[in-house]
């Protein structure tokens, strides 16, 4: 902590010597800003709160004020003026750490969102020509697009005739999700593959009916097992006890 504090003070002194105290966005403050940015990012990663991070800057105020008092003690007007300038300066620098801290956290969130997109959309081959796509979680439009693309590509790559889309892991099927499903089914059909939607639980079935979504043209099944059985039958296959 101490070397950092010393470095910070040195940077502030250098900037203040030939710089403008009122505007910390100027070039002479860049070393101070970089120092604080590194500190904020590091602390955000370590789980410190923004208050704790900004306190690093604010903690210098007392020492500065003390120094100003001993320097201008007899000159009340100058003391007040200089104290105000110092306050403004350190408040700005403190708020800057909070800003960077927040940015660092937002970067983490964006990265996690990207990771979520990559996650969990595998197309698996259940049998020759029979694909399954187990969907899990929220089907927002970004992810749905990736999912749809993956499935259509897999249909070509595996020359599959049947694709089962399993929505057991999708908690809410609203009109947007339904629309995405219908579009995927229609696109697959254009490519000569038939889709079966499985994993329609009782509460989802009732909700879809009330919503008024027409899944009439789509083959649906309650479970993935049922859908697989249908798929096998369509291929002229059956599971037999050996």
């Amino acid at each position: 902590m101490q070397p950092l504090a010393r470095e910070f003070i040195a940077a502030v002194r250098e900037a203040a010597r030939d710089g403008e105290l009122g505007d910390t966005t100027r070039a002479e403050w860049s070393r101070t800003r970089d120092l604080l940015a590194d500190l904020s990012r590091e602390r955000a990663a370590q789980g410190f709160s923004p208050t704790e991070t900004a306190t690093f800057v604010f903690s210098f105020k007392q020492a500065i004020f003390k120094r100003l008092r001993s320097e201008f003690g007899s000159d009340a007007e100058t003391l007040a003026e200089e104290t105000w300038t110092a306050t403004e300066l350190f408040d700005k620098l403190g708020l800057y750490t909070a800003e960077i801290y927040q940015k660092a956290r937002e970067e983490v969130i964006v990265r996690q969102q990207q990771e979520m997109l990559e996650l969990s959309t595998p197309v698996v081959e259940l049998w020759h020509g029979i694909l399954a796509l187990p969907l899990i979680g929220t089907l927002d439009s970004n992810r749905t697009q990736i999912v749809m693309q993956n499935l259509l590509e897999a249909i070509v790559a595996k020359s599959a005739g049947i694709a089962i889309i399993d929505i057991t892991g999708v908690p809410t099927v609203d009109t947007l999700v339904a629309q995405h499903l219908l579009k995927t089914v229609a696109a697959a059909r254009l490519m000569g593959a038939e889709c079966i939607i499985s994993g329609i639980r009782p509460q989802i079935a009732q909700t879809i009916i009330h919503l008024g979504v027409d899944l009439g043209g789509v083959l649906t099944k309650a479970t993935l097992a049922d859908a697989f059985q249908v798929a096998l039958r369509k291929k002229g296959l059956a599971v037999a006890k050996g």
Partner: protein, 135 residues
Amino acid sequence: MVVGKASEIRVASQDDVVVVRQAVRARAVEIGLNLVDQTKIVTAASELARNTVVYGGGGTVLLESLLDGGRRGLRLTFEDRGPGITDIEKAMQDGYTTGVGLGLGLGGARRLVSEFHITSRPGEGTQVRVTKWNG
């Protein structure tokens, strides 16, 4: 009668729609709605929250738990300051949309809840209030 604490959630983006769904589900479980009714109110909330974002340009939703005699309910009030709806009757019709969706959101949401109330003034915004009672 409103019981417990109401909560207000900002609905400004598609990500907020997910937050709204989760908050509604948590409250629906808390007041003891069964699984089918939970799913219905969450789905209705999803439709209305998305409308708030897409057509209302963002707004808020207020979640309140209700007690009426022996039955308990969950009331959601969606509000936006968007362009409003000129012809509500038409907007409620299945298959009608000014956007790119299926045009089933509003009508569907009405069928999924116990009470549905919509008010809108062109140029001022829209308020949709829905309630789901247990039993």
